[in-house]
Amino acid sequence: MSGLEKITDNASVSVIKFLQANVPKSDLVNIEKELKKDFLLAKKKSKGQKVKKKRKKSRILTRKEKKALGFYAIPRDSVKYSEVVPLNQIWSDYISQMLELEKLGPVGTNKNWEQFTQTIYKADFHGSMMQVVRSKCPSYVGKKGICIMDTKNTFKIVSIDNLVTTIPKKDSVFELYVKDIKICVFGKHLCVRPAERSTKKVKSYLHPDL
């Protein structure tokens, strides 16, 4: 029943007349008002009473909170080289266990050479001692240090003079030092997020372009 327009059609008028005849006198005034009332049907929702959903308190840090704690920025002089040296010791143990370096024969002669390279690309590089051998940008060449952070496109390296440098992977070639073995790694192949690297399939051949 729409409220605003005047009741005109035949049936409604007769209903009103009937009501006026039968209702007690004190209620006569209310007839019109009562008829105009809206009734709540199942599908119709009232507009005013929208219940606000209570937001659940998140249990993990939001981006803002992380930023406030300084999780995104590592200042250039915040990490000391002496603090990172133990990482490198643990890493060399880890990597020699992963690659089974004791069993390794001379370069290229081993049967499972393919698998060896696959494991390198799936391993973790945090804490590795690395040096930039070649790069498109000449000022990066020769930088040496321990890797502390590994993102999709960059390595963060702490050098001996306690400086943190960011090095783009894509156009650089790195050398890793494991005890007395040198491993040459093309940064181009490593452009994956560190968490995803172990699950992603590595292309066995990529065109080198340096």
């Binding site: 992380k66 704690l69 890493w91 880890y94 266990q97 992963m98 973790d124 945090h126 502390i148 172990s198």
Partner: protein, 120 residues
């Protein structure tokens, strides 16, 4: 020799756990970064983190909790039951572990009968 599924990822988690714990007292930012990586690697490879390791990672900021350096440990009583309360120094989140005397609070994975086979 039998091979364990996801062995290289387990080794990686083990390594990350060690370095994250090492950095906990020195640089909480890096510790949180490595802790975060542990969780993400386990998620990507659909592996379970051992409860012993998982309990040491702060639930909120994922730093490794070490008593008196990156967190505080305290015994507390509540309703006649004891529990250990860990507080993270980085983000200030509190976490409780029940520790009643004479009760076995170990989860299934930690019990000796859960060990089916040992592969070296």
């Amino acid at each position: 020799m039998k091979k364990v599924q996801g062995n290289d990822s387990f080794q990686r988690i083990n390594y990350l756990y060690q370095i994250s714990k090492h950095m906990a007292g020195i640089n909480p930012v890096l510790s949180a970064y490595y802790g975060n990586l542990i969780v993400n690697v386990a998620k990507k490879n659909v592996l379970k983190i051992h409860p012993d390791i998982k309990r040491q990672i702060c639930k909120k900021c994922r730093t490794m909790l070490v008593d008196k350096t990156s967190g505080k440990m305290k015994m507390r009583n509540r309703n006649k039951s004891k529990h250990i309360e860990w507080t993270c120094n980085t983000c200030g989140v509190k976490r409780n572990f029940p520790a009643n005397k004479g009760k076995d609070h170990r989860v299934w994975l930690e019990r000796p009968e859960a060990v089916e086979e040992v592969i070296n």
